[in-house]
Subunit: 577 residues, 2 copies
């Protein structure tokens, strides 16, 4: 491709709204253009990168026996009504009516679509397992799209779904798919992608992993130990906390006028936050059922862990009316005497295993000192569980060393969905005995555009992206300095033709721009190998050869360029396999 | 791929709602599945065909200097408001509001999207011409989707747009693109695709061509002469009509009680329809302006030709009130005495060049005999034009021989749009003198799924599709008859592995189904080459080799299979180049 014809301006200034490196360079390099909030067009160089990413994903999906399909963007609402998600998913699901007033939606994921497809195509255990995937447009009506391609409304996603006779077969396949994901991100040239255990949230099911590209701008927290043998996100991370009960002292009611928060109470009584117990009330967002939580004052409740413990998909903070109705005094609620028949009681391990805590006395202006769970809640109907949010530096559950927090972008995820969709949508197979059973399902996603952005977040310098060869828009860029002089243009034209004939993807800057401006453009395009031909180099029959990431250039004979590039490309490609 | 794992049932019975061959076989062969009216999923074999079609299209688009981009499915309404189409396009344009109440739409075509993109990227004549294309999902909220993939709501389309400094450059490129289209349809293995001149309708602009796949179920009429040197659709077809004025007789008012229609009047007066003139009133659908048309009684008005002649984009039949207001009597309106200042008058050549016609007398129950345009409308302000619909058998304008009507499916179209979008959307470039001028635009579409369906319409037998090798889901199918017996399974497994190793795409029917059922399935999958291995053939160390389209099978030595297939594939591929 000739730069003089390539569509997509390079821009000198950072766009005003761009806060992340990838957002800046995707715009500045002419890879993408916004059309509306969170809706982008891919320009030719962006589209080339995406096509290469898709090819790698496709190859790896085929390698784990995936069969490619294509489901529609527009789905009838009835499919999502069957699964229950038409009601349960919020306004990020774009619902509309067609001209015949039939409710439709823009699919943001395709569990329902694929389950509907599989239930009509497969009916016997002999046909299982299968994995179907697609690379397709999704729409999610995000309230606040941001960070360029990191959080958008319309996006291209590879979504894959596997169907199995039983959980054991799913688990076996899940491991293969995990390996495929590791290969994909390696082949995309990503330097630091961690798969972490995750809570599957809205998707249902149990085991799931998120693939996190570690980088400063990531909006997710990744919690690891030093050798990454422990990896988790905030929602499910645990720590090897050790608590001390000490010798139980007698329970004592004390007047604590005006002290309501943990800080105020601890200050007033001259104790540390870790010597207090914090009461928090939640409600089931759907049924209104009340949940009373006691956690040590220096910890925070992790709502995901709490939700999992009490099996409530969506929790909210309780309102005062509900707290009062349960006989508790807001701000001074106490674990002592609370009725487990009226309220579900959950005691975090931190509170159950620490002794002599200050807790509310269920009376305005009063607290108890020396609360000891074993003694003071003996016989109470309650659940003791780990529902605390892990803090940076807490001890690793595997090694005991301090946990480290990093930022990550979720570039992929895999879920063991189980029978969540196959039961509600009656996607069944006949087993060997002719008995109908729900299929067991897994799903596997990768955001294609987000992966492109994440590569930049991990691989750039102050001048632009540094594309891994495997997904670079072109492999080589020729820069002709002063093409009208001393045969430079002719030599470059010949190089351009010869490189193409050698099967090397080449971008030729034939515009005759000034060297500085030409090199800035080349940096923004981030092509791995660069050949600069100028009157000066040509005087010795040479060109300058440079790697995008490096400051050093090397002089080579012009006729050496193609053999050298072939060797470099081969060596580089070998790294990704 | 093993048939035992391939997702997509073959179905014995024709689906009830399927009236066309392609609709039937696409469902029965497990290529596609309906999800909602006019919305389909592609199953693995369908997706493979579509991927091959897309690859061919991409190669040919790149060959005419196309640069691939990807624009969004969801567009902000403001872009279409700029061009005026947000208002002018009917309810097939799906409009909706996002969660922030911003009006959006599902793009059914991307003239606005690309014009917006190009006006932000290109500003100099030096950067022109360019062609940008995408292969992307479109949505058109059809009132009555039908015929499987022929008329759908959601579809994949290749749409391309070129931008030029002037009309001459567009016309030069348009010819190259026309050639690319001819190559594409040939490479897709389509047998009979005609490019016909067409009216560009909603798209605006002037010159355009439709590529019509000729087949019985086509919903468009294609009008040709015997050697196809003349090709047109109904909207713009012309004929070399010859009319006869004869000797003008005196104008005479006659009483024609109860006779209103052409048939009734002709019967009553004992003349033929061709001796009458038919008056028809239209109105500009937007302004209400009245148009009076006179055409010979044996012809029909062609609204497209009429609209072009009077430069009114949308016409409707006039209501009686408007006709009366213009001083005309509905049912008996007359060209004699009508006021060209109040009404636009258009006389079709058939009426202007025929003599002694019976026409209305503008008085209930009365007609004139012997109307002669030259005499009886002398001095009237009127337009004489060809606005008649061509009839089968009318004389070809090039050769005079009778025109032939065929049915066709529009699989592609190309348009010279001119400055319709670039003017309204201010997509300008600076010319050599630094003067801003609107770019001149062309656009070029191909419906990918529709092309797949059209191939079936042109290439099938009673048992299923007969895929051209270039887009067949697999190149070879192995059928193992009785795989458990006499080594059949082992021989087939080896063939399967060897074919794959030889780079041949192979589908292996390993299910051990009965021969009849296996062959029906193979016919529905339409794979060009078939190898049948059975205990009987193996007794002689042989397999049966068969072409999908042919009844005859040939016995070949098993070890001859791969060299033979390689030769056949090479020979077949050469046909498409």
């Amino acid at each position: 491709m000739r730069m003089s014809q390539l569509v997509g301006r390079r821009i000198k200034e950072d766009p005003k709204d761009a806060k992340t490196v990838s957002h800046k360079f995707l715009i500045r390099g002419g890879y993408v253009r916004p059309v509306s909030a969170g809706i982008y067009s891919l320009l030719p160089v962006g589209k080339r990168i995406v096509a290469k990413i898709e090819k790698i994903i496709r190859e790896e999906m085929n390698r784990v026996d995936g069969q490619e399909v294509l489901m529609p963007v527009v789905l009838p609402a009835e499919l999502w009504q069957e699964s229950g998600r038409y009601e349960s998913v919020g306004s990020e699901l774009l619902r509309f009516k067609d001209r015949n007033d039939k409710p439709m939606l823009l699919a943001m994921t395709h569990e329902e679509g694929i389950t509907h497809l599989v239930r009509t195509e497969i009916n016997s255990y002999k046909q299982l397992p299968v994995m179907l995937y697609q690379i397709q447009t999704k729409y999610r009506d995000e309230a606040r799209p941001r960070a360029g391609l990191i959080r958008v409304r319309e996006f291209t996603m590879k979504d894959a779904y596997s169907f199995h006779t039983d959980q054991a077969d799913l688990e076996k396949y899940y491991v293969r798919c995990h390996e495929a994901y590791v290969r994909i991100f390696r082949r995309l040239g990503m330097k630091n992608v961690l798969s972490i255990e995750a809570n599957s949230g809205m998707m249902g099911g149990k085991v799931s992993h998120e693939f996190m590209a570690i980088c400063d701008c990531g909006e997710d927290t990744v919690i690891t130990n030093s050798d990454h043998s422990y990896r988790a996100n905030r929602e499910i991370a645990v720590a090897a906390w050790k608590f001390d009960k000490g010798e139980p002292l007698p329970l004592e009611k004390v007047h604590t006028p005006g002290a309501k928060t943990i800080e105020e109470v601890a200050d007033f009584l001259g104790v540390k936050a870790e010597n207090t117990g914090k009461a928090v009330f939640y409600q089931d967002a759907r049924t209104g059922e009340l949940v009373f939580v006691l956690i040590r004052g220096d910890f925070e409740v992790n709502e995901t862990k709490l939700g999992n413990a009490v099996r409530i998909p969506e929790l909210k903070f309780a309102d005062d009316a509900a707290i009062l109705a349960a006989g508790a005094v807001p701000g001074f609620a106490s674990p002592v005497g609370i009725d487990g028949k009226k309220v579900r009681i959950v005691i975090d391990r931190s509170a159950a295993e620490s002794g002599n805590l200050v807790v509310g006395a269920n009376e305005t202006g009063y607290h108890y000192k020396n609360f000891n769970f074993d003694r003071d809640m003996a016989g109470a109907e309650c659940l003791v569980a780990d529902i605390a949010t892990v803090r940076e530096g807490d001890p690793c559950p595997l090694t005991g060393e301090p946990l480290v927090f990093s930022r990550g972008i979720e570039v992929g995820n895999i879920f063991q969905l189980g029978t969540k969709y196959t039961e509600s949508m009656h996607c069944e197979y006949l087993d060997r005995d002719g008995k109908a059973r729900p299929m067991v399902m897994g799903c596997y996603g990768i955001g294609v555009g987000r992966a492109m952005a994440a590569v930049i977040e991990q691989s750039s310098d102050e001048y632009g992206p540094i594309w891994p060869l495997s997904i670079a828009p072109y492999q080589v860029q020729i820069c002709a300095v002063n093409p009208g002089k001393d045969n430079v243009g002719e030599v470059c034209e010949k190089l351009y033709a010869d490189l193409q004939a050698a099967g090397i993807e080449v971008l030729y800057d034939d515009r005759g721009e000034k060297a500085g401006s030409m090199f800035s453009d080349a940096d923004l395009l981030g092509i791995p190998f660069r050949l600069v031909v100028s009157p000066k180099t040509l005087a010795d029959g040479q060109a300058e050869f440079k790697l995008r990431g490096s400051r050093d250039a090397e002089r080579i004979a012009v006729e050496e360029a193609i053999p050298l590039l072939k060797r470099k490309i081969e060596a580089e490609n070998a790294k990704y396999l």
